[in-house]
């Protein structure tokens, strides 16, 4: 049933692919968090133009499938006579832009839950907008939305399987290659499924610990 020598032989390849998957999705999530923070605060700004811009961003990047976003970004540069973006860059760009839209919506909810008096107090003490966002609002928004943020990270790791379409040798692509070389489809895809599953364990644990840590300080 299960061909152990083939499995052992495939491990180094899968290990390298795992690094690519983690690299794209973790970097994509980190940049997506920055984008999400910016977009969320734009949506809550007073200026109508900023609100509209933030809203449009979410409309586009949440509305278009990630796969399509990847393809558009990858094939955009040649339209202007430029060389293709390196696949890694295109992949990270697409993942950050897309997760940015979702994270923005999550954080917006968290920001809205903060009593406006806290903002007022900070404002009166002379704190600047960015300082209020980073020091007063964001830590609380992250704390209250942590389960959703971890959820978003898990989703992104799984979505990163799509980056294989721009030719990146991530986990899914490597498993496909292995399968098509020895026709052990079931075995390779079962291993692939197992790896994705295992990635979640440390993430979930990290999320729980962070939650508990924050709860303790605010209890």
């Amino acid at each position: 049933m299960f061909d152990w020598p083939t499995f052992l032989f495939s491990l180094p390849l899968l290990g390298k692919a795992l690094l690519i998957t983690l690299q794209t999705s973790l970097l994509g999530n980190a940049i997506g968090f920055v984008i999400g923070t910016l977009i969320a605060s734009m949506q809550l700004a007073k200026m109508p133009l900023l609100r509209r811009l933030g809203g449009s961003y979410i409309f586009i990047f949440r509305g278009v499938p990630l796969l399509v976003q990847l393809l558009v970004i990858y094939y955009l540069a040649p339209m202007f006579g430029l060389p293709n973006l390196p696949p890694m860059v295109a992949a990270i760009m697409a993942l950050s832009l897309c997760s940015g839209a979702y994270i923005a919506e999550i954080l917006r909810g968290g920001l809205l839950a903060i009593p406006s008096g806290q903002r007022e107090a900070a404002h009166l003490l002379g704190m600047s907008r960015p300082a209020i966002l980073l020091r007063v609002e964001l830590p609380q928004a992250v704390q209250s939305t942590l389960p959703s943020l971890v959820n978003e990270l898990v989703l992104l790791i799984k979505s990163s399987a799509l980056v294989s379409v721009v030719g990146l040798a991530d986990l899914t692509r490597v498993a496909q290659n292995l399968a098509s070389s020895d026709y052990l489809f079931f075995q390779h895809y079962l291993v692939l499924a197992g790896i994705y599953c295992l990635i979640n364990i440390p993430l979930t644990m990290f999320g729980r610990r962070l939650e508990r840590h924050l709860e303790r300080s605010l209890a």
Binding site: G117, E120, A122, L125, A131, P139, Q140, S217, L218
Partner: protein, 294 residues
Amino acid sequence: MPLSLSPSTSPPAASNLEATPKGPDKASPIIHLSAVGKRFGNHQVLADINLSVHHSEVVCLIGPSGSGKSTLLRSMAFLEEYDEGEIHIEGRLLGWEIDDRGRRKHAGRTRLNQARRNLGIVFQQFNLWPHMTALGNVTEALVRVRGIKRNEAEKRAMEVLDKVGLAEKAKEYPARLSGGQQQRVAIARALAMEPKIMLFDEPTSALDPELVGEVLAVMKQLALEGMTMVVVTHEMGFAAQVADTVVFLDQGSIVTRGTPSEVFRDTQHPRLRQFLQNYLDRNAFWHTTTEQEN
């Protein structure tokens, strides 16, 4: 070089609304409101408010809810935009700028912050930041706004926390403090910025009756030390003991004002008497029981 004035210019004293702030002139008011008004749509919330607050003066604003006393206090920090009249803080027009054509427009952020620099504000709901310790709450603006190094800011913050009697609670998060302690941290946070004027917006209204005293004690101490204070309050006892001036508002206007004894004992004003009678009735439990026994 003498300033050349065009013939049409009015005398310099009256020509400039933003006359340079005078030095520590004890005689001129530190806050001056003239003909201040504000409306929400058709509803006139404040009308023709004239009020001066001098150095080291304690002014208590009293009145029924909806009388505009909180709106008035918040206007003094430009948290509410007054749309008629002028508020000057240390001679600076608050919140507005007059352009060349004599129209008013919003003052820039820096100007507004300059005017607010002298103000410390304490809210009914404390508004502490729950993710920072008491010490963190007091230190934050010192570091971010005044640019003081963290360890130095913490030293200063500890002094202020000690002043409100909470030095040993410095490392606690707000959620672990009682309401009275939270409000005292909020007072410390405002005091750390060394304001010249403290504004209090119903500082004890959200507190259990048993916790009111500790907050009022801190405020009394401040008044004794010569802090200029404007206090919106329902604590008539505090107003009677601490205020230099008590101002009674009703329906957005100042109905009457005076020293505590003028307002609380000698007034003949019917609306004020009715307002005060409510307090007497509510707090007369001892009196009533003895009467019933007779």
